[in-house]
Symmetry: C2
Subunit: 125 residues, 2 copies
């Protein structure tokens, strides 16, 4: 897995956005003047996910830079506000869940994602 200008560019855009970004937003903004072919964008994003620098948020069809921005493996956990579209990554304590999976036997865990949906503090009025 190499570190390339495309991937750096994608990560830069994710970080600058500071939140979830849709693939087709990058299709529009990847290069300053004009469009980029979708496969180019998807490949860059997939690489970032593979490298542990970003997460894919399946329920929103979006990608977001990992808040840790080192490539350490961890369960990707997010809080989603139903009202505004705020999304925040947090460190969910998934120890019990992992233990339960181990306890039921036969399943070899590789990765875990967790989505909590509700109302953020700003949207409770």
């Amino acid at each position: 897995m190499r570190w390339t200008p495309q991937r750096e560019r994608a990560l830069e855009l994710l970080l600058r956005a500071g939140g979830p970004v849709k693939a087709y937003d990058l299709v529009a903004t990847f290069q300053p003047g004009g469009q980029t072919a979708p496969p180019t964008v998807y490949r860059a994003l997939d690489a970032l996910v593979e490298l542990g620098l970003a997460h894919r948020i399946a329920s929103r069809n979006a990608y977001v830079a990992c808040h840790r921005h080192d490539g350490e493996a961890h369960a990707a956990s997010f809080l989603f506000c139903d009202c505004c579209d705020a999304v925040e990554e947090f460190e969910a304590p998934v120890g019990e869940v992992m233990a339960a999976i181990k306890a039921r036997g036969g399943f070899q865990l590789r990765a875990m994602t967790l989505e909590a949906h509700g109302r953020c503090s700003r949207c409770q009025d």
Copy 2:
């Protein structure tokens, strides 16, 4: 929220499948002889999710009947096999996670989904 033939039909198909079903599979099979308009299918599926009788599996763009098949609210938790496409709903112990969300304050939780990815017992050879 009414209980209608469309919704019953959708649930019947999910139950019969016994696993994740894609919306466009239902588009093809919803009525015996021919296609159904996508909005009809999506509306029926959305209603089932709303009623707590099914879950949407975002990472697969698929729907599955809830293993409890009563409408009780609960965290939707699934084990996904990376090799075969087996998916199993299980009861993840998310108490700690919910407590952590409460503890950080300001977020009013409504629903939670959890996806565990790895290899099922049949795929570890």
